[in-house]
Amino acid sequence: MPEVKKADDDGVQIDLISGERMESMTSMEKIRMILDGVHEGNIVILEEGLSPDEESRLIEVTMTEISPDEFNGIEIETYPQSGSTDSGLLNRLMGNDETKKLTVIGPANQIKTLHKDETLISALVSRK
């Protein structure tokens, strides 16, 4: 990632990552970018989210990096899939990719979900 100015101590940095930027990255590059940002205390917003397999690996890698008093893990939010978007094999073969959904990820001790339903995610973000 290009060098960016760091947020002031009294602010929270938010990185909005476009789908275009993620497109050329491998799964592990995406996971590393997310967790590096979260370790710094940033909120990472992905325009197009992760695939289910990448989400599974993100959980797995996050678990290996949890350390008492230092890093408690992540809070991650996406919209739940509604019943009409059943992403069966046929849908995926037809190119109806249901995985592209806005995703918000942050340090577990800094982001708290206040409300979530199929069309709204409301979260409280605090400083470190």
Binding site: E55, R57, I59, P68, E75, Q81, S82, G83, K116
Partner: protein, 209 residues
């Protein structure tokens, strides 16, 4: 005629000799996964799988009970039951301190819990043939862990039954779970009390047989 019968017998014995399907019991921490695993194992083998507790992350290693033979309507289905640690995206050892645990024990438990979650995810990607997804029906099912896990299960094209557990408790709301995952069949049950287990076994035989 004899030859055809022999071939047919060989083919049917080939299929009946298949390895039992591994059915993973997944869900968030404290949903009652081990209580269900123990209920299934005790009902059909007489043995339990692991200790149950109200403290989150009691199960920190995936445990497998092999060759659980479930008999339904004159037929039998043999499965391996895999009880997995509750999946989460965060583990904070200080939460264990609230359960009268010393700091060292809480830190150790949290470390084992993180390893267990990673192990559960690995099993889901590589080693299970079907999933019983267990939810506490007194809790809100619209959580990120549930959304992600059901999405991961669907992406693997694994057969899944959603189980709305703890119907014996006040505040149980099965309809809320049905509404959260309308694309899947939801069965109410109390693994602790053994309520509705007959229907659960019917569906296990139907889905995973």
């Amino acid at each position: 005629m004899g030859l055809i019968t022999d071939i047919r017998d060989s083919i049917s014995s080939l299929f009946s000799a298949q390895d039992p399907k591994r059915i993973g019991i997944y869900g968030p921490p404290n949903a009652g996964k081990t209580t269900l695993a123990n209920r299934i194992a005790r009902d059909w083998t007489g043995d339990a799988i692991g200790p149950e507790s109200h403290i989150p992350h009691e199960t920190r290693r995936a445990r497998r009970k092999e060759n659980v033979e479930i008999e339904r309507n004159g037929k039998s289905v043999t499965i391996d039951v895999v009880d997995t640690p509750g999946v989460t995206t965060k583990v904070d050892y200080t939460e264990f301190l609230e359960h009268d645990m010393e700091k060292d024990d809480a830190v150790r438990r949290s470390r084992e819990a993180t390893e267990g979650v990673a192990e559960a995810m690995h099993w889901l990607r590589e080693d299970v043939d079907g999933v019983l997804y267990v939810l506490d029906s007194t809790e809100d099912p619209f959580t990120q862990v549930n959304t992600m896990l059901v999405g991961i299960i669907e992406s693997q094209d694994l057969p899944v039954l959603i189980l709305a557990n703890k119907t014996d408790l006040e505040g149980s709301n099965v309809r809320r779970i049905e509404n959260a995952f309308p694309q899947h069949e939801t069965l109410p049950l109390s693994a602790l009390e053994g309520d509705n287990m007959d229907e659960v076994y019917d569906k296990i035989a139907e889905y995973f047989g």
